[in-house]
């Protein structure tokens, strides 16, 4: 199989997935997608992506598993602790002035970021008046996020991150550990609405004061990234905040001028008055 054949087959597979299941990966960054497609070939014992396409089209049970491979969920609680420190220092004081809060965690994967946000808000005394919309395209991942159950061996990292994020409570206040699992409290979950939403194909569903979307845009090509940032701009209230991943940028986006820096190194922006 030549590299050119692989490219052709990859495009055909993405078209097939879109036409049959309405998941649109056509605007994803190809470099990572190629790796994921190769991983899928191994997992499903297919010699070529054409074989995989055949199975995806004719065996409906294959698609959810393929979706898991294509959307590899990798996250941890309070990843990049300084991001949360900046939210605490620069964003929470303004959010505090709103009588009720809506926050959008876009691309929430298995929920770590949404729970981190809920804990931060709880520590700031704001959770009671907040709804966090945590969205993702993968229903299987969303179910795991909603369950809020994590392997207990990940808790050590989460706890260290939380402390470095300036947490002034103990992470252990928020979960119950049993049988090698940590189950996060229902009290947190009550303020999180997990739902299915695609930054590639869906539109804005609510007005929010803060959008947090970290390490999602890196998987999109320029055009899809622009679409997503456009959605965030539209969803944000007047002078709302946007947080993205530490190595992501909106510099080259047509929406760049709509935002000003709040914490440059932590990639937190604020919508300009005129935007």
């Amino acid at each position: 199989m030549t590299s050119k054949d692989f490219e052709i087959e990859l495009h055909l597979l993405l078209d097939a997935i879109y036409l049959k299941y309405h998941y649109d990966f056509r605007g994803y960054a190809m470099a990572s997608l190629r790796r994921r497609a190769r991983a899928a070939m191994t997992l499903f014992h297919c010699e070529t992506l054409s074989q995989l396409q055949d199975r995806v089209l004719h065996d409906p049970e294959v698609f959810p598993d393929l979706l898991d491979v294509l959307t590899v969920p990798v996250s941890e609680m309070f990843r990049d602790p300084s991001y949360f420190r900046s939210l605490r220092a620069s964003v929470m004081p303004v959010l505090r002035t709103y009588p009720s809060l809506k926050i959008w965690v876009a691309g929430c994967s298995t929920g770590e970021e949404a729970y981190s946000m809920a804990i931060l808000l709880h520590e700031e005394g704001l959770l009671a008046r907040t709804i966090i919309y945590a969205t993702d395209i993968n229903p299987h991942t969303l179910r795991r996020a909603e369950a809020g159950v994590y392997d207990v061996d990940r808790i050590q990292t989460f706890t260290a991150n939380h402390a470095r994020a300036g947490g002034h409570s103990s992470l252990s206040d928020y979960y119950t550990a049993a049988y090698g699992r940590a189950v996060f409290n229902r009290a947190l979950r009550q303020h999180i609405v997990f739902s299915d939403h695609s930054l590639a194909t869906d539109s804005v569903f609510a007005e929010v004061q803060l959008v947090s979307c970290r390490n999602v845009l890196i998987y999109f090509n320029r055009e899809l990234q622009d679409r997503a940032v456009g959605l965030f701009r539209e969803a944000l209230c007047r002078r709302g905040y946007l947080g993205i991943g530490a190595k992501e940028s909106i510099r080259f986006s047509p929406h760049a001028d709509a935002f000003e820096d709040v914490a440059r190194d932590d990639r937190i922006f604020r919508k300009r008055e005129s935007a």
Binding site: S3, A29, M30, A31, S32, R34, R35, R36, V72, V74, S75, A160, N215, L217, I218, Y219, N221, R222, Q225, G245, A246, K247, E248, S249, F252
Partner: protein, 193 residues
């Protein structure tokens, strides 16, 4: 052994992978990069994953061309060195731009040398020069093979001169490479690009 002058003017991207002992080895190579370098240089160095990277500042004084932390979607500029940020895989996309990912660890590493080398081979094909240095890991062997399959050039540090030879030995055990050289030899090769 092949005559290194054949590479002059044929390389658009240099990819370098290093692990244990890599900082000193990289300094020696970065010193050798000519200010007129046309190729872009992408580097994966395994690091403790929760450390905020200051490597660009460490390396810059030794290097005649700019050294930057790679940021997603930055175009790969000629004559510029990009370092994989801690806890991200570093890849290149079809538009010859930086692509980062937080996909799962490969050989217990993120960034992984294999991930970089394989992506470089896909995009830059025969205009890739891949260099594997000291390290105590299996990372890089598969990536080096991918670069070779794509028609690119492959170099490993002579294991007898590597601080930790495991990584280059793993690559040599996997298949043939174009050059096996001590750091001075690799530096000379880079100086001629």
């Amino acid at each position: 052994m092949i005559d290194g002058t054949r590479l002059t003017g044929t390389i658009d991207l240099v990819v370098i992978g290093a692990s244990a002992g890599g900082v000193e080895a990289l300094i020696e190579l970065l010193r050798a990069l000519p200010p007129t370098l046309r190729a872009g240089v992408l580097i994966v160095l395994h690091l403790p994953r929760d450390r905020r990277s200051v490597l660009a500042e460490v390396f810059q004084p030794y290097c005649a061309v700019p050294v930057r932390d790679a940021q997603d979607k930055d175009p790969v500029e000629p004559g510029t060195v990009y370092l994989a940020p801690a806890d991200y895989h570093l890849l290149v996309d079809d538009t010859r731009s930086i692509a980062l990912s937080v996909d799962e660890l490969v050989h217990f590493s993120r960034p992984s040398v294999d991930v970089l080398f394989e992506a470089a081979a896909e995009v830059y094909r025969e205009r890739t020069l891949a260099i594997l240095l000291t390290g105590g890991s299996d990372d890089g062997a598969a990536g080096l093979a991918a670069v070779r399959r794509a028609g690119g050039w492959t170099v490993v540090q002579d294991p007898s001169t590597a601080r930790v030879p495991m990584m280059v030995e793993a690559a040599l055990a996997r298949g043939p490479v174009d050059f096996v050289l001590p750091l001075e030899g690799i530096a000379e090769l880079l100086g001629r690009l």
